[in-house]
């Protein structure tokens, strides 16, 4: 009798735990999960786009495979965020020194109408020499942003001018093309540089 009661309690307990687990799954991973705030980019190997770099070379996601990659979006008519990001990146690259030599660093414009190949060449010339500038037709830029789960939007500022809202994070990919992590806009150097090292180290682990 007593034993049966214990078994009964035990069964009820197992049932309760199972229910809790189910509720937990439902809320965290299941159909009840909240929509992800910022989705992760797909791997570079799953992207498909054709752009032109600032030296007029045809480039695409395959250009980046084989070396770790740091990529970000912007536009050269951007007075605050983009020069700040480019300066931050230049500083991180200086900190990394030789370690950064084997890395792709790509600035992709979200304003191809004004950012021609020549414009990109002039602009990136003012920053760290490792930084490449990529541009291309609007529909190709849209495909890049889609793969990165990035967004951009043209915003009129009056009298025919416009500015661009855009994802300002810096994306890090391993040499395999796998997405590693991202650096938020204007993130302090002490957080950014270790993140870049993670992308670099992942490459070494993959190679050995």
């Amino acid at each position: 009798m007593r034993r049966r009661a214990i078994l009964g309690y035990g069964a009820a307990g197992v049932g309760a735990v199972a229910l809790m687990l189910f509720v937990g799954w439902w809320q965290v991973d299941g159909p009840g999960a909240p929509a992800p705030v910022g989705q992760r980019p797909v791997a570079l190997t799953e992207m498909d786009f054709r752009l032109t770099d600032h030296e007029d070379n045809a480039v695409g996601p395959e250009t980046l495979i084989g070396r770790p990659t740091m990529a970000f979006f912007g536009f050269t008519y951007c007075p605050d965020v983009c020069p700040t990001t480019l300066s931050d990146i230049s500083g991180w690259l200086d900190d990394l020194g030789d370690e950064a030599d084997e890395m792709n660093v790509v600035f992709i414009t979200v304003d191809p109408e004004r950012d021609t190949v020549e414009t990109m060449a002039e602009y990136v010339g003012y920053f760290h020499p490792a930084i490449r500038g990529w541009t291309g037709p609007e529909e190709q830029i849209a495909r890049v942003a889609d793969g990165f789960r990035a967004t951009y939007e043209r915003v009129p500022t009056g009298s025919g001018d416009y500015t661009m809202n855009h994802t300002a994070s810096v994306f890090l990919f391993a040499a395999s093309g796998r997405f590693v992590t991202m650096i938020d806009y204007h993130e302090p150097r002490e957080f950014a540089v270790p993140k870049i090292r993670r992308a670099l180290e992942e490459e070494m682990e993959g190679a050995t």
């Binding site: 050269t76 007075p79 605050d80 300066s87």
Partner: protein, 155 residues
Amino acid sequence: MKKHTLTGTLAALLTLGGLSVPALAGPEDVVVVNAWSRASIGMNRPGAAYMTIRNTGDEPVTLIGLATPLAMMPEIHETKTNAEGVSSMSPAGEIAIAPGESVALEPGGLHAMLMRLQEPMTEGETFPLTLLFDDGGEVTVEVPILGIAARGPED
């Protein structure tokens, strides 16, 4: 309190001496430090300038606008980055600075957006930027133009 008395005494002395005391109570207490800007590429792109504006007085001051011969449309803008990492920029409107407080115009936040440049911003040069306050007061600062990749006033 001590400072207030000193200012009062100074005002009295100046008035006695036949000199007019500036009518503007606010802006004479405004101190601008660490002003800097980045060089531009040509004149088509907007420039940006940064600084710290300190209200050393006893009364609040309100910054309502900018003027400079360098740009036809200088405005204070604010960059905001949302939870998804998307940055956008919009006019900041009026900026009230409480007594003893400072407002920092710095990369990624508030900045003096210099639209419709009248001449290129050349590294090594400076330009005058006038801050306009709601009581009619003005404060003009000479803003040094640093390199295009400058990160702060010391670069």
